[in-house]
């Protein structure tokens, strides 16, 4: 177990280093225009993701769009969540290649990755099951699910901002 963890850690930094010095990483890193563009695209993806998830979670909390069942709102908005997610999952790693070594040394980056993993698993399991339940979930725990979902995605966004703010020592 310890050995595996050691191997993992030992392999990871070189991987990040390789990423940054790859053709892609070098190209992006040396172009402020490219980085800025990627960040803008990343933010627009975030807006789509957070906006659509917020609407579904507000529905779960009973503050939804006038009398519409949660399931319908969730189904209708699912493609916006997925589009936002796809935009972020493409632009995010590209931004990472441009500053992989710095990200490796920034705790906020690892916090973001951990929260993102949890948020994704939660979204595609618990959240999905509750929002797309037939008949509509009127269970008392649906409020909890909405709260956890909002907290997780908010955490991902905050940690993301944290990567820019907290520079490694």
């Amino acid at each position: 177990m310890m050995f595996a963890a050691f191997l993992w850690a030992a392999a990871l930094f070189p991987a990040f280093k390789w990423l940054q010095h790859s053709f892609l990483g070098e190209t992006i890193r040396h172009s402020a225009t490219l980085i800025a563009t990627l960040e803008i695209v990343h933010l627009i993806g975030l807006a789509l993701l957070i906006g659509s998830i917020l609407m579904v979670d507000l529905s779960l909390l009973g503050l939804g769009i006038g009398g519409q069942p949660v399931g319908r709102v969730a189904r209708e908005l699912n493609r916006f969540t997925m589009t936002g997610l796809a935009i972020m999952l493409v632009s995010g790693p590209l931004i990472l290649t441009s500053e992989a070594e710095r990200c490796y040394k920034t705790p906020a980056f690892w916090v973001k990755m951990a929260l993102l993993s949890i948020a994704l698993v939660f979204h595609f399991t618990v959240h999905r099951r509750v929002t797309l339940a037939e008949p509509p979930a009127a269970r008392p725990d649906s409020r909890l699910v909405a709260g956890v979902s909002l907290a997780l995605w908010l955490g991902v966004a905050l940690a993301g901002k944290g990567i820019a703010i907290f520079q490694p020592a």
């Binding site: 402020a32 980085i35 800025a36 960040e39 803008i40 933010l43 627009i44 975030l46 807006a47 789509l48 993701l49 957070i50 906006g51 659509s52 917020l54 609407m55 507000l58 503050l63 939804g64 769009i65 006038g66 009398g67 519409q68 319908r72 709102v73 209708e76 908005l77 916006f80 908010l154 966004a157 905050l158 901002k161 703010i165 520079q167």
Partner: protein
Amino acid sequence: MFLLSICQWVDSTRLNAVLRQSNWAFPALDVIHTLGIVLVAGTIMLVDFRLLGLALRNVPIKQIVGRIVPATLWGFGLMLVSGGLLFASEAVKMYYSPAFRIKVIMLALAGLNALIFHRTIYRDVANWDPASVAPSRARLAGMLSLIFWIAIIAAGRAIAYGPGYDLG
């Protein structure tokens, strides 16, 4: 010159000094500002998509506007207060930032677009809400809103790549 002297005055205030001297004020405001804009753009885009007939087509527009716009306004409030304070912490720098000017103009246009929409075609919403396709003026308002908000995000991000910032 008039604008520059206002910016110089802002930079000479006590508020500016307090914001500048604090290690955490700028990052904290930056975080609130980003969340605010994500909230505004994320919610308003859904209204825009509905106007364009791309989302929630079975839900009446009046209900969507009634439920979503309060969240948008909360986000806008966050964005305005945090944005005002961020500006107050570096007003003269903003005077020389082309991206900042573009952002302010885009904000004004987005506001104007929303105002015109609510004052004209939206007053009549009960008449056209049941139709499967919104009237062209409503669709135009939705399209313009999308463009303006994407431009606001882009210009806002671009401020940090303009004069006066160290990209490191």
